[in-house]
Amino acid sequence: MPGDASTADAILKVANIESYYGPIMAIRGVSLEVPRGKIVTVLGANGAGKTTVLKTISGVLDPQKGSIELDGKPIERLNPDRIVRLGLSHVPEGREVFPFLTVAENLKMGAYLRHDRDGVAQDLERIYDYFPILKARLNQAAGHLSGGEQQMLSISRALMNRPKLLLLDEPSLGLSPLLVKEIFAIIRRINADEGVSILLVEQNAKMALEVADYGYVLEVGRIVMADACERLIKSHDVQEFYLGAKQSGARGERRWKKKKTWR
């Protein structure tokens, strides 16, 4: 990982990016890497800058400073459509399906850049295999789907581009615990079966740490912790601030929080 022995085979390398919303500096120098074929997660509280990191990577925002490499090519100055062509799909927060198009049309939109009809057909079959419910809803307007189904559609649409790297922004948002489990099981399957590398941003730290290989903790635009997930899970600060473990004090309860040290 950056700073340590840098991984030789990284699909995504982000170094020192700084992003602004007008005068406000949202990302204050973030460096991270996604090794090929791995799932990497970025955890953080509201407003930590997680979504901004993803938007900066996919080109929706331009970084003021820093470099981003996708598979060895610099992409920090490219427009989003160019980046998508290079094999990066971004599943935005809140699903953002095209509500008035049918499920089938939404999926086609995902394959907009592709011309191999056979390949597209094969991929559609695979997607129906992951998400059988989508097949049943093929001709319904996407806006009429439930939240979980929309999330599935959003992920599927991104997969239709056959990405090398998938950016997932809070796939668990607003879903029931059972659905969250289901979605995460499929994320793991997609990663294992297709070899798609995944950068996952999550508030649901427990699920994210279970499914990912490597994790970063983001706080007010800076990375404060970076480690393998099995080690992150054991860290005291992650347990207290992200997994909700309560250390009980002498009174049997404890309201005050100890200072974060991130180690």
């Binding site: 700073g3 120098g29 991270l32 004090g249």
Partner: protein, 612 residues
């Protein structure tokens, strides 16, 4: 126009306070920020609060001579409680809010505290955890009750209820007030100050009213005090520097005490308060300096040129000041322009533009740093003293600044050097002894009443004291060369990228050092130079950062004799907080502890030297 201020001094600290409260009545005594707004408290209001606390203590069976501890950050309630205890004839003992429960237990037991004032639920938890092992403890008073509404315990009361109880107890007992105040005399124990204990368990220095008053009654001797003084209090009040220099001096002189919101907000608070005098530790002065240097790097070329020109003039003025010569009229004029056009902005940004005096003490400081403040046109005076002498023992005077020394002995004390080179102090300000440790007292104060400071130093012909180092810190290399680590360390700390450093080399072939980086500035450096890093540890491991620090060390090495050069270094990879045992509450690295904890890393620096 500001007028000279008369001191309020009585026979005891408590009586001085009562005198101050009565004389200054409606004038502002202190200010605190509540929900973002500075609120004033008058001397009379403070007196009434502390009086009620004294009565409440009496009602809970607290008698003159009993000890009460205060476990809180620096805030108004600290001084309310402290004066309450002193007015009740008690002995007040401060505990660092960063101390762990185990240390709190040690201090409660060692001091035999009957009552403890705690800041909030966080501090309360520490006391609850250890109270069954503190048999003398009878009452716990909590200031901030947030989160404790559902909590009840026969031993625990809120400060508000405690004060109310005191007010009830007052009725019909008017004569008790004078009795409590008269219960203690000049020679009686008033204050316990625990030394931070870089080696061994903390020792409780016992100070009588006499030693505190010895300092208080001379608050205006070296520096004139006017009636419009403003101070900012932010160092821990359990430490003698803020307790005497910030707090008890203000009681004597009537300075308004402004309490910083927290240690992190000091730079903002000082800008808001614009104090007239500021006492700080070198760490803060270093921080101010490096903040200015970093801000300059982002400034335009013109601004950088303006600063360089102005500070250059300032440095020439400072040279005159140090040499005691008077500058040519042209230079004076240039300096006036430099001040109004440039340096005033720097001073305002730092918040010290109104400061008539800056004091630095409690740790060694680099002379170059003092010179910078002098070049800004500020009066920075280095003072030297210890917990054991209740504050200042030597001080620079406005008339004469001699860099590299800590000034001359204060007129109300004496300084001499023992044949072994140790600095010895004498005066009314000396401690009575260490609580429960007669053998340590005997080691420290000799039969003739001289305090052995444990510092090595020398006095020059004019009586200026030069402090070399702590006696036990002197390094003797394997080659037999005597080296004073603090001198090198101060030079290192002058770098904006180094927050603290510890030089190692006792009985070793060469010198090495452990470095704690300044996180903010090194992060900025990494960002500016596109050095990827994730967390603190990876920052310290980055090659560019290692090179940067080595460059800073090389600069210091260039000024040192060849044998003294630092050959290798190691960056501490863990971000340290005051809760960590490596740091003292004032964020200094503890030499002995660090030497032990990083033994492996230190050994590595002495292995396969060729790699260096």
């Amino acid at each position: 126009m500001a007028r000279a201020q008369t001191l309020t001094i009585g026979d005891t600290i408590a009586k001085s306070f009562v005198l101050a409260g009565e004389q200054r009545a409606t004038r502002t005594a202190l200010r605190e920020k509540q929900f973002g707004i500075w609120k004033s408290v008058s001397w009379r209001q403070w007196l009434e609060k502390s009086k009620a606390i004294a009565y409440a203590l009496d009602a809970s069976g607290f008698r003159p001579g009993d000890v009460a501890s205060i476990l809180s950050n620096t805030k108004a309630e600290w001084v309310y409680a402290d004066m309450g205890v002193l007015c009740a004839g008690g002995v007040a003992c401060g505990i660092y809010p960063t101390d762990a429960a185990k240390q709190v237990e040690y201090l409660l037991v060692d001091s035999g505290s009957k009552v403890i004032f705690v800041e909030d639920d966080e501090q309360l938890d520490k006391v609850l955890m250890v109270r069954k092992r503190c048999p003398q403890l009878q009452a716990i008073v909590v200031d901030d009750m947030e989160g404790l509404s559902g909590f009840s315990d026969p031993m625990v009361t809120s400060l508000a209820n405690f004060i109310a109880r005191g007010q009830e107890h007052m009725a019909g007992r008017e004569q008790l007030w004078q009795q409590m105040l008269d219960a203690r005399r000049l020679e009686d124990l008033a204050v316990l100050v625990y030394t931070s204990g870089t080696t061994g368990p903390p020792k409780g220095a016992m100070h009588a009213n006499k030693s505190v008053l010895a300092q208080m009654r001379h608050a205006d001797v070296l520096f004139p005090i006017t009636d419009d003084e403003e101070r900012l209090l932010f160092l821990p009040l359990c430490h003698v520097a803020e307790r005497i220099g910030g707090y008890y001096y203000s009681v004597a002189t009537g300075s308004v005490m402004n309490f910083a919101e927290s240690p992190e907000t000091v730079p903002d608070n000082i800008r808001e308060v614009q104090p007239t005098a500021f006492l700080a530790v070198p760490r803060i002065w270093e921080k101010f300096y490096s903040a200015t240097m970093i801000a300059l790097k982002d400034a335009t070329r013109f601004e950088q040129w303006a600063y360089r020109t102005a500070i250059g003039i300032g440095y020439r003025m400072a040279e005159h000041r140090l040499a005691g010569t008077s500058p040519a009229p042209l230079l004076r004029l240039a300096n006036m322009l430099a001040y109004w056009l440039v340096l005033r902005n720097v001073r305002k940004m730092l918040g010290v533009d109104r400061c008539r005096m800056l004091y630095t003490g409690a740790a060694p400081i680099s002379p170059d740093l003092i010179k910078w403040y002098l070049a800004l046109g500020l009066n920075m005076y280095e003072v030297y003293g210890q917990t054991e002498n209740c504050g200042v023992a030597t001080s620079m005077r406005p008339e004469r600044i001699k860099l590299g020394t800590v000034g001359q002995s204060v007129p109300w004390g004496e300084v001499k050097i023992s044949p072994a080179g140790e600095i010895l102090l004498k005066g009314d300000f000396l401690l009575m002894g260490y609580l429960n440790k007669p053998e340590r007292t005997a080691e420290t104060i000799d039969q003739d009443g001289w305090l052995h400071t444990g510092d090595i130093g020398s006095l020059d012909a004019e009586g200026f004291l030069r402090v070399t180092d702590r006696m036990r810190d002197i390094i003797i290399t394997a080659g037999g060369k005597n080296i004073t680590p603090s001198e090198i360390e101060n030079q290192l700390k002058f770098s904006p990228y180094i927050s603290d450093a510890i030089v190692i080399g006792d009985r070793r072939p060469y010198l090495t050092c452990l470095v704690m980086i300044d996180q903010e500035n090194v992060e900025k450096f990494a960002q500016d130079h596109s050095v990827p890093f994730t967390n603190y540890a990876s920052l310290t491991r980055a090659k560019a950062v290692q090179d940067l620090i080595w460059g800073e060390i090389a600069k210091v090495n260039a000024d040192l004799a060849r044998v003294e050069g630092i050959k290798r270094f190691h960056l501490i990879e863990q971000q340290l907080t005051p809760e960590d045992e490596e740091l003292t509450p004032t964020m200094k690295l503890k030499r002995a502890f660090v030497n032990q904890k990083y033994a492996n890393e230190i050994d590595m620096m002495y292995r396969n030297r060729e790699a260096a």
